[in-house]
């Protein structure tokens, strides 16, 4: 079992680089797909890029979506509603999590073979981590 992870950021570079950082810790077994920026590469969000990343990240065990803010969150919520109206698509959950810390926590937990709910949980637990 390996849950996929999608990172939705306003910025293409943030989504891509955090995906790379999380992959470095989680190892190659976890599919972590960035969905950053608009479909024409500006700052912003594209529901089509997110949908594509979700499909690419899914291997049948579900996908945990982590968002940075604003339009990333609203667009991911909209995609989720659309997916709920469909049949047979990937099982998707949005994690309410700090972006970088949640991505790392979710990726590492996914690499241990835990299921979608546990992966989402670990991302959301990252709000209670402290650094100093």
């Amino acid at each position: 079992m390996t849950v996929g992870i999608v990172l939705v950021s306003h910025s293409p570079a943030v989504a891509g680089s955090v995906a790379e950082l999380a992959s470095e810790l989680a190892g190659p077994s976890v599919a972590i797909r960035p969905a950053g920026g608009t479909d024409d590469g500006r700052f912003g969000t594209s529901i089509e890029l997110i949908a594509g990343a979700v499909n690419a990240a899914d291997s049948g065990d579900g996908v945990c979506v982590i968002m940075d803010m604003g339009s990333s969150v609203l667009t991911s919520k909209t995609l989720l509603e659309d997916l709920e109206d469909e049949d047979g698509g990937p099982v998707v959950r949005l994690a309410d999590a700090p972006f970088t810390e949640g991505a790392v926590a979710a990726a590492v937990l996914a690499s241990t073979g835990q299921g979608l709910d546990a992966v989402v949980d670990s991302a959301e637990q990252a709000w209670s981590m402290r650094k100093l």
């Binding site: 529901i47 803010m69 339009s71 667009t75």
Partner: protein, 209 residues
């Protein structure tokens, strides 16, 4: 005049034109308290709405608004995309498969649009968002409709109310969207989303006049 597929399409076309004409103003409002892309976002989203309508050639006003909403969600790029997109889709669904509707039903559809925006974005009146323009506009539309007034009068009242709602956002501090990061520095400016909502409702008044 009833609200049918042709009027619904004209509404989107007129909204697109209004947003393009005022694109620079929307952008500069967003530059003051956001990231300066609201004009471009709305122009792109409404252009996609028109394209999607043209491609699907929907035959009911409900399907026109659903098609517009899908185009807006797909292409806007900012927070306004899922918000307006959900609003138009929800309004379209509220119209069902009627070929044409009168003021009370259109008023209920506008109320459904407002509910969609509030549910998705979590904003309430006073948070300095598009909700501050749309809430009084829906109330004004429904008041005219409840008195038996025609769509044209209801839409004109809605546009006026939206304009007042827009002005009322100036002294507010933003509590939703990226403007909320600015805290008190968001005070003293019109909310860009409230400005685009006003344009869209004015466009409705024009095409139904």
């Amino acid at each position: 005049m009833a609200f049918d597929a042709q009027t619904a399409t004209a509404w989107i076309t007129a909204s697109e034109a209004a947003v393009k004409a005022d694109e620079a103003r929307l952008t500069s409002l967003d530059a003051a308290i956001g990231d300066g892309d609201h004009g471009a976002n709305m122009a792109r989203g409404l252009a996609a709405a028109s394209t999607n309508i043209a491609e699907r050639a929907p035959s009911t006003p409900g399907d026109v608004l659903v098609a517009a909403g899908r185009g807006i969600v797909a292409k806007t790029g900012g927070a306004s995309g899922p918000l307006y997109g959900s609003a138009f889709r929800r309004a379209g669904k509220a119209l069902g498969d009627a070929a044409s509707v009168e003021a009370p039903v259109l008023g209920a559809a506008l109320e459904a649009a407002l509910t969609a925006i509030k549910e998705l974005g979590g904003a309430n009146e006073g948070d300095k968002t598009m909700v501050d323009a749309l809430t009084p506009a829906v109330a004004a539309f429904q008041a005219v409709a409840a008195d038996g007034g025609p769509i044209a009068a209801a839409a004109a009242a809605a546009a006026d109310a939206a304009e007042q709602g827009l002005s009322a956002t100036v002294p507010l501090q933003a509590r939703k969207g990226r403007a909320s990061y600015l805290g008190p520095r968001s005070i003293g400016h019109e909310d860009p989303g409230a400005a685009s909502t006003t344009l869209i409702l004015r466009a409705l008044a024009e095409v139904t006049a």
